[in-house]
């Protein structure tokens, strides 16, 4: 088997048996990146030299018997995680040349456990988008092709589009992502791979360029649920440098994947049957529930009555926080500065921010500034916070009767570049099934469950109780086993 086809679990086993070295695995990935990244644009920065050096060091550690849990696993890192000494752009011109002098906690933990970083993956600018098209470094091509129109460039989803495309195209066996409204789960679904957003607070946000602080959460991508579990364990844990990180033990997520669903009660929210959802997705959803029933779970219809308010609530809360979080990009201390000699401070701000931020980021900063303004705060921000509490309460009610909730991940398969670009609201609808988990802080996974008639992958989402990633992984694992998803994208190593 070629190293690029290995899952993380397989690769770790091969490393353990000395059938593969970290250097071989890393080289295979780097070669695939060299060959395919010019087309896919999944990476903004490739750190080949550092990766080779890290892989050699990893092999040396393994030889000394000091192998960590991720020893020698090559990974793509979403370019929103600050990496010490390696340019971190957030896919924005604003941070085009920014080299952080510090490492994010999540990436530091991955390194601690032996992972090898291949480079920094493309994303929507400041993680704002569902297509990866807002990146200042260009869009990412989804490695999957529509059977009826193989010439079309499809989007990988977003915002973690580069991470998802890299894993799907076998440029890396795993990747990090962040998920504020669906930015892990939707691209995972569009690219036919697995991706989990853990409970808010499970992974430290320290060193991750902030989009919306109360919603942002890091998580892994991989081609299997088990691989996601392996990565998540290294990424998780309490961090005193993040006041919102949860001080609770990190369980053995990997063990949960094969636990099965016998006796579990699976909720199906009736409000998620939205108008205009393709029949294929509806059918796949029913199929997924049937698989779980066959595996011993009980399917229960539930109600999450405030679901229809989730998207507008999200698009008030997230831009509000973003408008404040992005105020620091002002051209004064680091990053882009656009100014003429003799300009006043205000001219420096205006020129820097007009040139440094793309249109979608500017749109969200304006929306966020508006909803926090005097006279509008109560009607928008405060109201949204109240609705957010109601949405969380809907879930809390549901957990009294069910153990997990299963929904489609996204209302469509991957779309083509240009298809939704002129209508921001149509674009925002991509997040309709995913934002609720962010608003309520719940763990959610997307698992590839089948292909649509045009040969594009579709995902199912499992949402669980707070800090019950194990339950989510167990249900996701059961869907994965039943679906037997083996399809691979057109473009791959």
């Amino acid at each position: 088997m070629r190293p690029t086809d290995l899952t993380i679990a397989e690769g770790l086993a091969a490393l353990e048996r000395r059938e593969l070295s970290a250097l071989e695995w890393t080289r295979a990935c780097l070669e695939a990146i060299e060959r395919l990244n010019p087309r896919l644009n999944a990476f903004i920065t490739v750190t080949a030299e550092q990766a080779i050096a890290a892989a050699r060091a990893s092999d040396a550690r393994r030889a000394r018997g000091e192998a960590g849990p991720l020893e020698g696993v090559p990974l793509a890192i979403k370019d929103l995680f600050c990496t010490e000494g390696v340019r971190t752009t957030a896919a924005s011109r604003m941070l085009e040349g920014f080299v952080p002098p510090y490492e994010s906690t999540v990436t530091a933990q991955l390194k601690r456990d032996g992972a090898v970083f291949l480079g920094k993956a493309n994303l929507d600018e400041f993680a704002m988008g569902s297509s990866n098209l807002t990146s200042a470094f260009g869009g990412v091509e989804n490695p999957w092709k529509r059977a009826d129109a193989p010439e079309l460039r499809l989007v990988p989803g977003g915002s973690s589009g580069g991470s998802a495309a890299a894993v799907a195209a076998r440029l890396a066996p795993g990747a990090t992502g962040t998920d504020t409204g669906g930015s892990i789960r939707q691209p995972a679904a569009f690219c036919g791979i697995a991706g989990i957003k853990p409970t808010y607070g499970r992974c430290s946000r320290y060193g991750i360029v902030a989009f919306a602080s109360s919603l942002d959460q890091a998580g892994p991508f991989a081609r299997t649920v088990e691989d996601c579990a392996i990565l998540l364990r290294s990424m998780s844990g309490h961090d005193p440098k993040d006041s919102t990180s949860a001080d609770r033990p990190v369980p053995d997520f990997r063990a949960a994947v094969s636990r099965g669903v016998k006796g579990l009660r699976i909720g199906v929210p009736r409000e998620y049957r939205v108008e205009g959802m393709p029949a294929e997705i509806e059918a796949l959803w029913r199929q997924g529930l049937a698989w779980l029933r066959d595996a011993g779970a009980e399917i229960v219809e539930i109600s999450l009555p405030h679901t229809r308010h989730a998207l507008p609530t999200y698009y008030v809360v997230a831009p509000a926080e973003a408008s404040s979080n992005l105020a620091r990009y002002d051209g004064v201390r680091y990053g882009l500065r656009v100014a003429q000699q003799g300009d006043h401070l205000r001219a420096l701000y205006e020129a820097t921010r007009a040139e440094g931020f793309g249109r979608e980021v500017q749109r969200r900063i304006l929306i966020g500034t508006y909803v926090l303004s005097a006279g509008y705060y109560d009607a928008y921000y405060l109201k949204a916070q109240k609705v957010r509490a109601l949405i969380a309460r809907d879930f809390a009610e549901a957990w009294k009767t069910v153990d997990a909730i299963v929904t489609p991940t996204a209302p469509s398969a991957a779309f083509a570049e240009g298809e939704k670009q002129d209508d921001p609201v149509a674009m925002y609808l991509n997040d309709i099934f995913t934002v609720t988990a962010n608003l309520a802080g719940l763990p959610g996974i997307s698992v590839p469950a089948g292909l649509d008639a045009k040969g594009l992958p579709l995902g199912l989402q499992v949402i669980g109780r707070p800090f019950d990633e194990e339950g989510v992984l167990a249900v996701g694992g059961a869907i994965e086993r039943a679906a037997g998803f083996r399809a691979a994208p057109e473009v791959r190593a």
Partner: protein
Amino acid sequence: MSYVIEGTTGPWEVVIGLEVHAQVLSRAKLFSGAPTAFGAEPNSQVSFVDAGFPGMLPVINRECVAQAVRTGLGLNAEIHLWSRFDRKNYFYADLPQGYQISQYAYPIVGRGSVEIELSDGTRRKVGITRLHLEQDAGKSLHDQHPTKSFIDLNRSGVALMEIVSEPDMRSPEEAGAYLAKLRQILRYLGTCDGNMEEGSLRADVNVSVRRPGEGFRTRCEVKNVNSIRFVMQAVEAEARRQIEVWEQGGTVEQETRLFDTARGLTRSMRSKEDAHDYRYFPDPDLPPLVLDAAWVEGLRAALPELPDARRARYMRDFGLSAYDAGVLTAEREIADYFEAVAAGRDPKQAANWVMGDLFAALNRTKRDIIDPPVSAADLGALLDLMADGTLSGKLAKEVFEAMVDTGRPPAAIVEERGLRQVTDAGAIEAAVEAVLAANADKVAEYRAGKEKLFGFFVGQVMKAMAGKGNPALVNEALRRRLGRPEV
């Protein structure tokens, strides 16, 4: 006795409220581990959090919270066990995050009060509305380069307490007394060093005027006044300006003003229309601040005795006058010094020495009570030497001066200079004998009834003994030898 300004159309009353920014005394900043020392090289005390780098997050400094709670307790205020940090959003070059983390809607400390005393002895309470924690901004330096502004972020993220009073003050004197009292309490608590020159304590002064008996009129805020004297001057200047506006038929507009200390006038900084929309909202990086009631009680139990209580105790237990007790409790360090001297000794005598000789010595040597030329233990030992008769009061003064000059303990000076007072009855008798013999005429006058000559004989004997005669023994010997004057 209320303060009134006579305008051309009648009397005006002044209404004053203060917002005081007090820098929390702590080693580290409010949300980062960076140090807070004053006067360091520019940008040498800045963490990536303070500089607003991408992905950096605030983590609350527990000691700063404790200091705010201690201050709240010292102001007899409610401590809110649940409070919250908000972001105050505005752009400025020395505000790296583009927002200040503050407590807008839910401050850590609620209502309290401070009692002030005026020069005529009247006492009144000034209400405290709230106290909240917030970060300081950095500093813009516009005078370092002809075309550039420089930014120093050393102060960025330093913890401040904003202490807001009720509009309870009615005269410049009351405003000054309130700020002085607040400063005294903060220094007693050790929660702020109160150093106004270094900017550790600064006041925004809200002033309005009204006709006696009226409700409140529009107020103006005079920003960043940095001494007690300037606060009093700013109140008067602003009140007179507003009176003139009203009396000329105008309307006072709500605005922010600055006090020009050189000209003694306030001038407009920005009007209400130009006021920022700060877009306050809860900081999503920080969970609500929840305090444990037992922890607060622990802080309460460990609170030092505050100036009012200490002053009352000095009057009650030591029999000191209100004035003396006030002087001795003005600063915690003075009171501590005094109590160390007074312990086990005569408190009135200790008070006299501290306020008299010690204060004079501090002035003369330009040292302060933190670093006095004579330690409290040495001064106490000097008092002991007087009590046991080793030194007379006069000798003690001489020894004290030598202590100031040399820094040596009194016993050593007494030994070295042979200043021990003479208590040998024989030597005293001999000196008395000699003085009486040399002044036979005066002895006769005394015996004839000129009683006040007694002091003359005492002086002559002491002089003969080079000041070392034990005054009590000299008196006794003289009385015995002179007998009672005939009346």
